[in-house]
Amino acid sequence: VTTTLAPPSSRAATANHTGSPVTRVLGLTVAVGLVLLVPLGLWWSPADQTQGDAVRIMYVHVPSAVTAYLAFGVTALGSAMYLWRKSPFWDLLAGASAEIGVVFTALTLVTGMLWGRPTWGTYWEWDPRLTTTALLLVLFLGYLAVRSTSGERRVRARRAAVAGLAAFVDVPLVHYSVEWWRSLHQGPTITRLDPTIDGLMLFTLMTGIVVFTGLYAWLLVHRFRVQHLEEELAERGLAEAITERRREAEVDA
């Protein structure tokens, strides 16, 4: 274990929650950003020439997708680091990030379907981008299922790390699917060197991405701490069970 416990005397350690001064400042900043994003995305930014107001879905759809990529990237990093260093810190980080990634991937799919209906005339097509994104959701649900299996912690963490790295292979497939195969989904807009998007639209989109990234960081810290508490309780329960079993054995003898 490479991390250290907070001193018992610290204020944060005595609180009955997973918050801390840093998460409170970050949470407040994210909340302000989200409040600002609503009028920017729904009223102040212009409608698109061809898509009309349906383009406003982009301000939640694209940030959700970017956040999902980021979350799964952190899961892959945590998984690789766990296999290398064998520190539970990296395992907990990978697991916490994957769960958040699953939430944002589901949101990417749902908002994408709601965007597809007015622009393509259909909620769903077995298009390369949509199919690989749905596969990404299934793969990381599988990853979370591996994490929830019972058994020895180190074995489970190693299996989860391998599953996390394997599932991450789909992320570049999702991203480049619109370039590698014929796709109904539009190609990259903001990753080009000369973005063709309107200035205020680009500002709104970038605001959404920054705010969602902050939201991801806030959720990650809380989810990590919850996962740590779950591990502590599981270890405590195991220790109590062993003590109880020994006591029973002594009585029998």
Partner: protein, 44 residues
Amino acid sequence: MDDAVFVLSAWGVTAAAIALYALRVLGRGRRLSRRVPEERRRWM
């Protein structure tokens, strides 16, 4: 606003999902914090 149903649904689903998930994580953290000794509650 054109396609208001789709636009507002997308924003509404996003807001609801994020709020529910955040509340679930915070609530679980509060419940578990009470059951874990103070000196072992925090790790980063």
